[in-house]
Amino acid sequence: MNAFHDRLGLGWRADLAAGILSHLDRIDLLEVIADDFFSAPRREVRALKTLSSQVPVVLHGVGMGLASCAPVETKLLENMARLVEQVRPQFWSEHLAFVRGGGMEIGHLAASPRTRDTLDGAAENLSRASRLIGSKPIMENIATLINPPGSTLSESAWISAILDASDCDLLLDLHNVYANGLNHGYDPGDFLRQIPSARMGVIHIAGGEFISSPDGRQRIVDDHLHDVPDPVFELLEEAAAISPNPLTVILERDGAYPSMDCLLAQIELARQALARGRARRTALQEVLL
């Protein structure tokens, strides 16, 4: 941990369990996918409780669809509330996305139309979730291959307004910022400067894949199956330079697992990027003083 109390963690995946448990000296915390445990056998939840007593754990939800005009299902909130009660994570997080509509499950995180309606719906859902679960979630920006039709606000303005209305902090996924910047033609650095840095508390880093789309353009799919690319580490340095808060940086990997050494090397690169950003921040503060 550095003078800013930044931390570096890794997404808990069963395939990585042995490697993670034998390298806890280099991993400050673990992020667990909450939905995997909502209907898990009791012994698996007990194992998660044991894990959380040995290493700091945070819970990450993927299925609530909180950024929606439709009220979030009470059952989903109760599932998270029960798990939070059992595991006592340091915090829980979810996504600024919708995942269902009109009785249809989309199957993954879809970008909500960035409108006043979805903004109000998200604020209402976040307020209900906070009340029922007993703590506010940290909300993550998502990657999208399509600029959501019907949007009247920019992504940064929409996110900032939801955070403001709900008083929630931001889980800033830097690979999502990088992917959306490339897919929708904006500068990821500008995006970073447009969102409230005081709301930045947690950061995700991950990798994806460039694919050629039928219109001849290159787009990035945020698949979490590849190593973290250099531009994401550069964005991490920028985030560390502008954020006044201690940052928790979590590496996500969902498959095509490399060796544990390779994952630890990416965590080390993240640590170096954080250090560079924090050094810039310190130098700037000294100049201003």
Partner: protein, 93 residues
Amino acid sequence: MSGRAFESFMARIYVDAGARARFRENPRAEAQRAGLSEEECSALENTDFVGLEMAARSFARKRQMKQQKGFLFSARRLLRRFFTDRAALFRRP
């Protein structure tokens, strides 16, 4: 915009390949058929159809993966119950 109706429409377009094909063919007509407002119909005419198709395929893969995961989970649970029951049978006095 009536947000919930719009979200329902988008969810259907992502999930239902037939509805997506009709939407690509004539966005306004498909949106009108779903009862969306004039403003919403106009907004949908500017959809990035390439991005829509890519996103829909990506969602379909995720649904398939979830189904497989669910099947494996159920199979594992059934197997565990089978062996637990057998063990209990042999332990009976």
